[in-house]
């Protein structure tokens, strides 16, 4: 398609005979996208480039921010820091536990809820409540509920013979922060799964029932294949969130006891905003970004295989 302007006699006259019509360097679409791209650059690309520069520098604060280049020192420290590797290990364990439990419980809750015919909306409303609480408030609630002086959960556990302090020992503290996250975000998985379940054709389910398929076979061969795409999207959403988990741990355990709950985001925060070692923090932040992109790409590729990204 050509524009009418291209055939304007004025333009024809101005052009040398042999020259081809010049394509505008930035087309109409480009011009329309420019403000958005400038905004994106200001919000993402410039900070990203600054972050890369910081990771090769020592950042001075006093007298205005300035960078002293230190070469690969921050990166060398990152790869040789034993505490950092322990934090990565904890992050992965934490990631697998929270996302895994949330998926299993979320699907189970959704399946149960799907069978409820009366009062489903009321139950769903109650079930979704934790999701609307800010994570830092979940942390505070968790801290109070597990407090050994007056905490309800501490009291319940004492009555069944557990004498320790929940947030006082490494294993129980880790388990506690995992459960707090699971409590908050399982409803989201349940909600997404419930939406997926609604799309499973009733006629197929009835056909399976008529053929005498037991419940688990219906789940295995009809329900799960039908909702697997929805589950994959839920997994992607929760995974992205779980990688940057911070609030609950900061409020409840501060990364302790004995660093048992110090996952990478907590260490990043500490390095950047407590020690103000912004160069090293930039290196940690970029590594976290790479990890997030890896996880996201993995899930997106899976969705791509199923043709869901088109």
């Amino acid at each position: 398609m050509t524009h009418a302007a291209d055939h304007s006699p004025v333009l024809e006259r101005a052009r040398p005979e042999t020259a081809k019509p010049r394509e505008p360097r930035i087309g109409f679409e480009g011009a329309m996208m420019t403000p958005g791209l400038i905004l994106l650059a200001a919000l993402s690309i410039v900070p990203f480039l600054a972050l890369i520069a910081m990771s090769f520098s020592h950042v001075r604060l006093l007298g205005g921010v300035s960078l002293d280049l230190v070469g690969l020192r921050n990166w060398a420290r990152f790869f040789t820091d034993a505490d950092m590797w322990m934090s990565w290990l904890r992050t992965i364990v934490y990631f697998v536990l929270t996302v895994g439990l949330e998926m299993v419980l979320g699907v189970a809750v959704a399946l149960c809820l799907y069978r409820v015919l009366r009062g489903r909306n009321l139950l769903l409303g109650l079930l979704l409540l934790p999701m609307f609480v800010a994570p830092s408030i979940v942390g505070l609630l968790g801290r109070y509920l597990t407090d050994s002086t007056f905490g309800l959960y501490a009291w319940v556990l004492r009555s069944v013979g557990y004498s320790g302090d929940i947030l006082g020992s490494p294993i129980s503290a880790f388990a506690a922060v995992v459960f707090m996250d699971v409590w908050e975000w399982t409803p989201l998985i349940a909600l997404i799964t419930l939406a997926g379940l609604s799309s499973v054709p009733q006629s197929v389910r009835e056909a399976a029932a008529v053929d005498g398929a037991p419940g688990w076979m219906t789940l295995r061969y009809i329900v799960f294949p039908a909702i697997s795409n929805v589950l994959l999207v839920a997994l992607l959403i929760r995974s992205m969130d779980a990688i940057r988990y911070f609030d609950i741990i900061w409020v409840t355990t501060n990364g302790g006891p004995a660093d048992a709950t110090k996952i990478v985001p907590v260490r990043l925060y500490e390095t950047a905003f407590r020690f103000f070692d912004l160069g090293y923090a930039a290196a940690i932040g970029l590594a976290m970004l790479a990890f997030s992109i890896f996880i996201a790409r993995t899930f997106v590729r899976l969705l791509d295989v199923r043709g869901l990204t088109r």
Partner: protein
């Protein structure tokens, strides 16, 4: 489309609007106006109409001042806005404000270890303000401030310069249930073979035995003999340091000086010494009989447990006296912390107020008026009486006032003064506990309390924990500090 060829096009209007917006934004980001100044014979009124921002930790004296800033505004005509934050958040804001090159916060609550030592170059040397003939001088001069506090909170490296004025003075002391000690005194004395009455003459070993006695014999009155602020937090380092120093351990060579004046290069860490390891072994033993929830408590946690009647005694900051007296009037006693085999140490956690180096000349003058007023004897006395705060005076003259002296005894209108006898001893130069004042303290502190937490949760033995701390602190110090 019909368009007026002489008028501005839509594109021109858009360009003009963008340019105007950018100009307004840039002018907003750029020059910051100085505070107004009027020529007057009254030095206190010369910055009338100025507005100051004071950033502070949410502490008792600031709560008292924030509840009534009217006297300062009436005196100077200056409006003061107070932002109170938790200490970690305060340190972040101050660091970023100093980096910005502009003083959004002209007056800074400068914790000696987290603000003064790392960012001393961003604070004004207050000698220049005190020497300025156009500004009012400090009532009583700096000599009126308790000397150990003036050094610890106000100075860094240069023993003559001072960057802050001592503003509050929380100090760790022994807080105990006086009613229970009275009730069980004779039985305890008989069983233990010494007078259990808390005082600076008791030893940490005796403290341990008293706590153990309460655990075994006073279950109907109190659940545990002792509780501690042993969460993986700054509080754990504070609690442990009292024991460490009393056993003769030290974080660095010349530890007293590194604590009092500070250092940029403190040398190698000495936590691998036999004395330090002995202190760590005792601390682990003590925590083994303490309330198990101790490993989840910071100072607020242990304070709440003590007030809830769960503990017979605990080491905690003396400014908790006000809330103790509110909940358990007349039931609490205060004494300096026990001594160890080598010394007595009572951790000092006081802070000063300073002026941002990014301030403009008149702002700086106005900020000086505020810090002189906020640390003046009259204001410290008013803080002591305040229902909103409590206050912990930092001036010798305030402790000498007759009404303050009278308040040291019950019934006291100034409950924090019930601790005066204990803190007066704790602030003696050989008894005050001063952690290292080094720029990289925040990171060293984290290494210390993390390893201590490992030790208390069974992840490391005391010698291992001390040696690991030494290795990490040496690494951090070797990296140095560039602000």
């Amino acid at each position: 489309m019909d368009r007026n060829p002489l008028g501005p096009s839509r594109r021109d209007v858009l360009r003009g609007a963008l340019a105007a917006g950018a100009a307004v934004t840039l002018s907003g980001c750029g020059a910051q106006a100085d505070a107004p100044h009027v020529v007057t014979v009254d030095q206190w009124r010369q910055f009338k109409g100025a507005t100051l921002n004071f950033i502070s930790e949410n502490t008792a004296p600031t709560a008292a001042i924030a509840a009534n800033t009217r006297p300062f505004t009436d005196l100077t005509g200056i409006t003061i806005n107070i932002v109170t934050l938790e200490l970690t958040a305060l340190v972040q804001r101050v660091a970023l404000d100093l980096a910005s090159g502009h003083a959004q916060y002209q007056v800074i609550y400068a914790d000696p270890y987290q603000v003064l030592a790392p960012y001393q170059r961003g604070l004004v040397d207050l000698r220049t303000m005190q020497a300025d003939p156009n500004l009012p001088h400090l009532p009583g001069g700096i000599a009126d401030f308790i000397p150990a506090q003036m050094d610890a909170a106000g100075r860094f490296v240069d023993p003559n310069a001072y960057y802050t004025l001592p503003y509050d003075a929380p100090t760790m002391i022994w807080q105990y249930r006086r009613d229970l000690f009275d009730k069980y005194h004779d039985r305890m004395a008989n069983d233990l073979g010494f007078d259990p009455t808390p005082s600076g003459e008791r030893t940490w070993d005796e403290y341990y035995r008293i706590a153990n006695w309460f655990n075994k014999h006073a279950g109907s009155d109190v659940k545990y003999g002792t509780g501690h602020q042993a969460r993986q937090h700054d509080s754990l380092m504070n609690d442990f340091s009292n024991v460490l120093w009393s056993y003769g351990g030290a974080y660095f060579d010349n530890g007293k000086e590194v604590g009092r004046i500070g250092s940029r290069d403190p040398g190698p860490c000495r936590l691998d010494s036999d004395a330090a390891i002995a202190g760590a072994e005792f601390y682990q033993k003590l925590l083994a009989i303490a309330d198990p929830a101790s490993t989840t408590w910071d100072w607020d946690g242990v304070g709440a447990a003590f007030r809830a009647g769960r503990l017979a005694m605990c080491p905690n900051w003396h400014e908790f006296a006000a809330s103790n007296e509110q909940v358990m009037p007349g039931k609490t006693g205060y004494s300096p912390l026990p001594r160890g085999p080598v010394a007595t140490a009572n951790m000092y956690g006081g802070t000063g107020v300073g002026i941002s180096g990014n301030t403009r000349p008149h702002e700086r003058g106005a900020a000086w008026l505020f810090i002189v007023w906020a640390t003046s004897p009259q204001t410290q006395l008013a803080n002591l009486k305040s229902k909103a705060g409590g206050g912990t005076p930092t001036r010798t003259s305030v402790y000498e006032l007759p009404e303050v002296r009278a308040a040291e005894k019950r019934p006291s209108p100034m409950p924090n003064m019930l601790t005066a006898a204990a803190v007066r001893q704790a602030w003696e130069p050989d008894k005050i506990g001063l952690r290292p004042k080094i720029p990289m303290w925040n990171e060293c502190n984290t290494a210390i309390f993390t390893q201590l937490s490992r030790m208390l949760t069974g992840g490391a033995t005391p010698p291992d924990a001390m040696r690991t701390i030494k290795a990490r602190v040496d690494q951090i110090v070797a990296r140095g500090w560039v602000a």
